[in-house]
């Protein structure tokens, strides 16, 4: 195994981790472990939210991570792989092979995720003390909004716009179906429907990064979460206010 190969492998692993929603501290930790296991000399790693540098002796790679999605299965599998590497269970060749497999894994099909978003909306509405008809309304809204968000992400619209539109759509569809006679309490339905879209992962990762002492990434992530949350709530709130105004307070 050449140093260059190890460096490329590490860069690929780091990129995959960061793109799939791994914490900055996890990326740093995983890469350090992998490199230290295979090579004893000098190496440095520096990771921020949007990219990282890896340096082994005279070689350095800079990796820029643009598109960040969430795929926790990949994060877990890479975590498992790095454990196996460190414990000596698998060699370099096997690790590369296994990583190729991990990279290919696609996760659940879109329709499953759409259905899950719908189910999750429905149950969150029940948790907010909504009735069964409220929950049915949220189910439909959740499915529609998730599908639209997925489509927008695929055409790589900016995150803020995607989330904002999601919020707008939630308010619009909920009000529409309320007018058609489904559901009893608009506020509860909207509150339930926005839950699957709140930035839970960003906040959790931000906290982990901050505890690890990485205030740069933690701060960036907190800001990311705040922007997402505000976009979502602002979309729903603005739309709802407009609808209420147009309907003369009948909604």
């Amino acid at each position: 195994m050449e140093l260059k190969e190890l460096l490329d492998f590490a860069a690929e692993v780091g990129k995959c981790l960061l793109e799939s929603g791994g914490e900055t501290s996890r990326v740093e930790d995983t890469l350090t472990r992998i490199i230290k296991h295979f090579y004893n000399g000098h190496s440095e790693i520096f990771v921020v939210l949007t990219g990282f540098f890896v340096n082994i002796e005279i070689y350095t790679v800079t990796v820029r991570v643009g598109k960040r999605t969430i795929n926790l299965e990949k994060v877990s599998k890479i975590n498992m792989m790095s454990r196996d590497i460190v414990s000596g269970k698998i060699g370099f060749g096997e690790a590369v092979e296994r990583f190729e497999g991990i990279k290919q894994s696609k996760g659940y099909p879109v329709w499953v995720k759409t259905l899950s978003a719908a189910v999750s909306c429905a149950f969150f509405t029940l948790l907010q003390n909504g009735g069964l008809s409220d929950s049915a309304n949220s189910f439909l809204v959740g499915a529609a909004v998730y599908a639209v968000i997925w489509l927008m992400r695929r055409h790589s619209a900016a995150d803020f716009i995607v989330t904002f539109s999601g919020g707008v759509l939630i308010a619009m569809l909920t009000a529409l179906m309320y007018t058609l006679g489904l559901g009893g309490n608009i506020n509860i339905m909207i509150a339930g429907s926005i839950m699957p879209f709140v930035p839970g992962l960003a906040v959790t990762n931000a906290l982990r990064d901050i505890i690890a002492g990485d205030y740069l990434s933690g701060g960036t992530r907190i800001f990311d979460a705040v922007v997402t949350a505000v976009a979502l709530a602002a979309g729903a709130g603005a739309m709802m206010y407009m609808l209420e105004y147009i309907s003369g307070g009948r909604l």
Binding site: G21, G22, E23, R26, I70, N71, L72, E73, K74, V75, S76, K77, N79, M80, R83, G107, Y108, V112, K113, S116, A117, V119, S120, F123, F124, L126, L127, Q128, Y146, N187, I188, I190, A191, I194, M195, P196, V198, G200, L201, V203, T204, N205, L207, R208, I210, I211, A229, V230, L232, A233, A234, A236, G237, A238, M240, Y241
Partner: protein, 142 residues
Amino acid sequence: MIFEMIAAFAAALAFAVIFDVSRSELIFCGLAGLAAEGIYQTAMLIGDRSGAVLISAAAVTAVSRIFANLRKTPVTVYLIAGIIPLVPGAGMYHTVFNIIASDYVKAMSVGIDTIKAASAIAIGIVLVFALPNRLFFKKIKK
């Protein structure tokens, strides 16, 4: 309360699917959500909301760490699904709605409530994360 716990279980499990959590871990994500809601409801009986959120967030972080050690999976997997029933999504929406509707007094009171709940979650998570990992290994081997 049983009903709420079941709803939280289903909601957390479905929420985990959106983030591509592997099939074998889904049930644990659901359990984390169930624990969060159960502890929150119990704590609500004796205290106020932010206290209940704090205790529940801390407890669910502990549960997630135990799961993580048992299943050799990153804590984040369970934690995200676990804390989601506690996240003040409704508060977020009402705050912004009231700001837009120019009802600033209400926006302020709902907004501060929301920030309080969000901070309570953050503090709860941080408190338990700061504990050494050994503590959670021992719990399993007992």
